[in-house]
């Protein structure tokens, strides 16, 4: 059975390798793949999966790459694959080519393959999965689904995984459906027993129980953000389907159905799938104007379509929460690839002098935290708040801290005058800055029979919300909005600064999904004697710590996942930094950034600057 074409000394590694599953989209492989990753996690080993998929529903190739790291690294590793589970004939050649020398190829050898289809510098392990399942099952659908589980059993045996952990996961997954649990466990053991009987431990990549997972949870960012919206008290969601954000709105639907039903079965929420992104942001603005917490979830093309409305919300000062799960461009715009490409289009969205508040989570935990926080900030600042996810965080399961909630926490509804306030004679002017922080009081429609009503419109108004095209009124309002934006910088989550162990004049700025790659790169760079102070941006407008950090360094690398260095531009523009001081490190091929890339870019830059010292470049 075993088809080894050449005796190759395979890689020997424990808890440190990359497994890639090459599948056919729609073949039911997704749940078996997730089961594999979760089984590794249950052994206390950090496993970080990534879905690599085309914009397609059925038939085209998809991959599921899992990095297994006993050191807890979660970034995409980059480089080749250590173990390829090649289940898709269509991508066979490409998949075999991507294996590192000394790596392993696991495949279904039911049908013999021509020797030319293999490589001589890898270890090939064939298991007759199709034959086994065809013999054991008659129903074609069962054959397909159980083939994935038999394969998982075989792999589990080859990698020394904990069978009991997998069985436990299966019984949790199909809880209450004993027949299904037993059938899956049976299929799992079919794979295990076959390997035990027929192979002599050909794969030297091993898993070994470890303790790097702790109490962390395994969740994707879109789902966590949707929970954040539930805990943030959102009652109105208006959305238009767009990859990679759709699962965020769908998560909200799911959690609302579970946790937001009143005792009479009626819904404490309203979700509308709008006709387009213009309508979805319009509904959000209408609902928030009327005192409900409302949000939409979208991606770059949606942000483009919402521009006019976003500007209106900025000038009319209406709260709105926009989750932007970033991809790359418009139309067929790499919708299933990751990028950080909407930084500028969100920070400066719309016409007129506008500046917006951005929250930038690094992982699902912060997607939840910032998701909930965004509704408080929207109400407090009476302005649109953008929560900037990307596909890498949004659509991949990731280990993160468990989600927590303080039950004594109250929603901050901001400055809202009630009927009692108005009745007591408090002066109400919709755009009157009584507190000096640029934030004015509002009333909800229908509050009081004779006081507090006002007309909402764009910029033609005075501080009492009366129609005005007077230059002085316009200018006063614009300056107050500037002041409000300045207030916002004290309310967004501050940047997190992590000083290097050794003194250094070099710094690095990063944000969002770049975190795990940066953390790993930092260790590698420190080993090479390159020390960096790190600052992770979590919000815009920038707090005072951001300018101070840049000020304290001779050169600061700004690491991001777009072509133009959008965050760098924002820093230069907002903080009036000398551009030569901010070195651009950009990764933008649609795959997640890796530690290897960062290390190489930074060391190349430093080596290059040995010829022309940095100090000169950056002075």
């Amino acid at each position: 059975m075993l088809q080894i074409l050449d005796r190759v000394e395979g890689l020997q590694r424990v808890n440190d390798f990359v497994v890639k599953f090459a599948n056919v989209n729609g073949s039911g492989s997704a749940s078996a793949n997730a089961l594999f990753a979760k089984s590794v996690l249950r052994m206390g080993i950090t496993a970080t999966p990534r879905n690599i998929f085309p914009s397609n529903i059925q038939g085209l190739p998809t991959w599921y790459e899992v990095r297994i790291s006993g050191d807890g690294h979660m970034a995409a590793r980059g480089g080749g694959v250590d173990l390829m589970v090649a289940m898709n004939p269509q991508t066979w050649d490409e998949d075999v080519k991507s294996i590192v020398p000394g790596g392993y190829l696991f495949y279904d050898n039911t049908k013999p393959m021509a020797p030319s289809k293999f490589r001589s510098d890898i270890v090939v392990v064939g298991v007759p999965l199709t034959r086994m399942t065809n013999e054991a099952y008659s129903d074609p659908r069962q054959r397909q689904l159980f083939k994935n589980i038999v394969g998982l059993g075989a792999l589990a045996c080859l990698l020394d995984m904990d069978f009991a952990a997998i069985e436990q996961l299966l019984s949790e997954q199909f809880k209450g459906r004993e027949k299904l649990i037993n059938a899956n466990i049976q299929a799992l053991h079919m794979g295990i027993e076959w390997v035990k009987a027929n192979l002599d431990d050909p794969i030297k990549l091993k898993t070994k129980r470890a303790d790097t997972v702790g109490d962390r949870i395994f969740i994707d960012g879109n789902t966590a953000a949707s929970l954040g919206a539930v805990y943030g008290g959102a009652t109105v969601c208006a959305w238009y389907p767009i990859t990679p954000s759709s699962s965020l709105a769908e998560g909200f639907i799911n959690y609302c159905n579970r946790f937001r039903r009143g005792p009479d079965g009626k819904n404490n929420f309203a979700i509308v799938q709008a006709e387009d992104e213009l309508a979805s942001i319009g509904m959000v603005i209408g609902a928030a104007w009327n005192g409900a917490r409302a949000f939409t979830a979208t991606s770059g093309p949606g942000i483009s379509l919402m521009q006019e409305f976003i500007g209106l919300a900025y000038f009319a000062e209406i709260p709105a929460v926009i989750f932007d799960v970033q991809r790359s461009g418009p139309s067929t715009g790499m919708p299933t690839r990751t990028q950080q490409t909407d930084i500028l289009s969100c920070a400066y969205a719309s016409h007129g002098d506008t500046k917006h508040v951005l929250l930038i989570p690094e992982d699902p935990y912060e997607c939840f935290e910032f998701g909930a926080l965004s509704f408080d900030l929207a109400d407090r600042l009476q302005t649109p708040i953008f929560v900037m996810l990307d596909l890498e965080i949004g659509m991949n399961d990731r280990l993160c801290k468990p989600l927590t909630w303080d039950d004594s926490r109250k929603m901050d509804r901001g400055k809202v005058m009630t009927a009692a306030d108005l009745e007591s004679g408090k002066r109400f002017g919709r755009y009157l800055d009584v507190d000096g922080d640029g934030i004015t009081y509002r009333t909800y429609p229908g509050t009081h029979p004779s006081k507090g009503a006002f007309f909402t419109r764009g910029t033609s108004k005075d501080r009492m919300a009366r129609y005005s095209e007077e230059g002085a009124d316009y200018q006063e309002n614009m300056e107050r909005l500037q002041k409000k934006h300045h207030t916002a910088r004290t309310l967004v989550p501050p940047a997190i600064i992590r000083p290097s162990a050794a003194a250094t004049r070099m710094g690095a700025i990063y944000y969002g999904s770049t975190s795990p790659a940066m953390n790993e790169a930092d260790l590698i760079l420190a080993d090479k004697g390159v020390n960096l102070n790190l600052m992770r941006l979590r919000g815009f407008p920038f707090g005072d710590e951001v300018a101070a950090f840049i000020e304290d360094h001779d050169v600061v690398f700004v690491i991001e996942q777009n072509r133009d260095g959008q965050m760098r531009s924002l820093l230069v523009n907002e903080l009036e930094i000398d551009p030569r001081k901010l070195a651009k490190v950009v990764h933008y091929d649609g795959t997640p950034i890796t530690a290897r890339f960062i290390v190489e870019a930074i060391t190349d830059r430093i080596d290059g600057d040995k010829v022309v010292p940095f100090r000169k470049v950056a002075s």
């Binding site: 805990y231 009652t235 387009d276 603005i285 609902a287 039950d407 229908g446 909402t456």
Partner: protein, 351 residues
């Protein structure tokens, strides 16, 4: 343009409605539209309708898009919150507002450019969702604020003030509203207050998507010879299928009529629409026949007005979404936030 408040001096003997409000309480600042503009007549009709219906002015939310028509909400219901949104997007803002608080009365005011051109998508989807609202299009067939370009409701062959003949077919918003599921559809004429006021009253008391296409001549750019939206043209070609009165539930109904010529339609909230039929074979409950009738009469060059269709037991978006009776904007932490115990359960399932 500036803000001109109306003097607060009231005639001591102004008539009061059941809530003690006078008509003045439903007015707004002085209109800045052109003298004689049909839109001002519609504003006056809205004021009259709200007064007659005994609505508390502050319990109405008025929303509009952009254009001459969309400016009008500033000039009526000064005690109500208003929202001048962006061009063609009033329906989505109104939809969101309605979702946030189901207890207010929603009045959307738009124009033919705002609803039939840039906003036709949002117009259509608001109708098919069944938002509980009164949606009035002040239809003059031109873009007034930008000085007289044709709009999408301009009739084919109509002549602009500059002498250009329109070659595009017109969009009939009333037919679209019918086709898309609006549950109260009417057409009227700003020059016919006795027809318009009751139609607005009936719409405000309707529990679903109510649409009124109100022909409203533009005195500056579309009131000339050769226009099909001028005062003279509309008067000559107006073909009303019925005349309507709205009778509130509390009033005693005393009608003397010939059988077959008057129909009483009781809406869900108890208001009664008393329809005096001018075309005895016209059935206001037959959506399909109404569409056919509109097309037939339009082909003859007639402008059909009156209550075209009504479903007295409409469903609205809140009904479809099964939202709670309490307005969503009043729900607090106890109703909205599942708390730490739920998170712990979720965390446990994610390990």
């Amino acid at each position: 343009m500036t803000f001109i408040p109306k003097p607060k001096l009231h005639h001591p003997e102004l008539q009061k409605n059941a809530l003690g409000y006078t008509r003045r309480d439903y007015e707004g600042p002085v209109s800045t539209l052109c003298a004689g503009c049909g839109h001002d007549s519609i504003s006056a009709a809205i004021v009259r309708a709200c007064f007659e219906l005994d609505v508390q002015p502050h319990r109405i939310a008025k929303l509009s898009g952009i254009g001459c028509s969309s400016k009008t909400p500033t000039y009526f219901l000064g005690a109500s919150h208003g929202f001048n949104s962006v061009h063609g997007r009033m329906p989505s803002v109104l939809t969101g507002a309605n979702l946030a608080n189901r207890d207010l009365v929603y009045l959307g005011v738009s124009g033919d450019g705002d609803s039939a051109s840039i906003g036709i998508g949002q117009f259509a989807h608001a109708m098919r969702r069944g938002i509980n609202m009164t949606y009035i299009v002040e239809n003059n067939g031109v873009y007034g604020l930008t000085k007289g370009q044709f709009s999408a409701t301009s009739d084919k062959g109509a002549k602009s003030k500059r002498g250009v003949i329109n070659s595009d077919d017109p969009i009939d918003l009333a037919s679209m509203a019918l086709q898309l599921g609006a549950t109260y559809v009417a057409r009227s004429f700003s020059g016919d207050k006795s027809q318009l006021v009751p139609l607005i009253m009936g719409a405000l008391r309707h529990g679903g998507a109510a649409f009124i296409d109100c022909i409203s001549p533009c005195v500056a750019f579309n009131n000339h010879e050769g226009s099909t939206k001028s005062f003279d043209y509309v008067r000559e070609h107006n073909e009303a299928v019925n005349r309507m009165d709205v009778i509130m539930g509390r009033e005693e109904i005393t009608v003397d009529y010939d059988p077959g010529t008057v129909e009483l339609v009781t809406q869900h909230d108890g208001s009664i629409l008393k329809l005096r039929k001018l075309h005895t074979d016209y059935d206001v409950h037959d959506r399909v026949a109404a569409l056919t009738y509109l097309q037939e009469r339009s082909a003859e060059g007639e402008i059909v007005t009156g209550l075209l269709y009504v479903d007295p037991e409409p469903k609205d978006l809140h009904g479809h979404l099964r939202t709670v009776d309490t307005p969503l904007n009043e729900l607090d932490e106890s109703a909205l936030i599942p708390g730490q115990s739920v998170l712990e359960r979720l965390n446990a399932a994610l390990r």
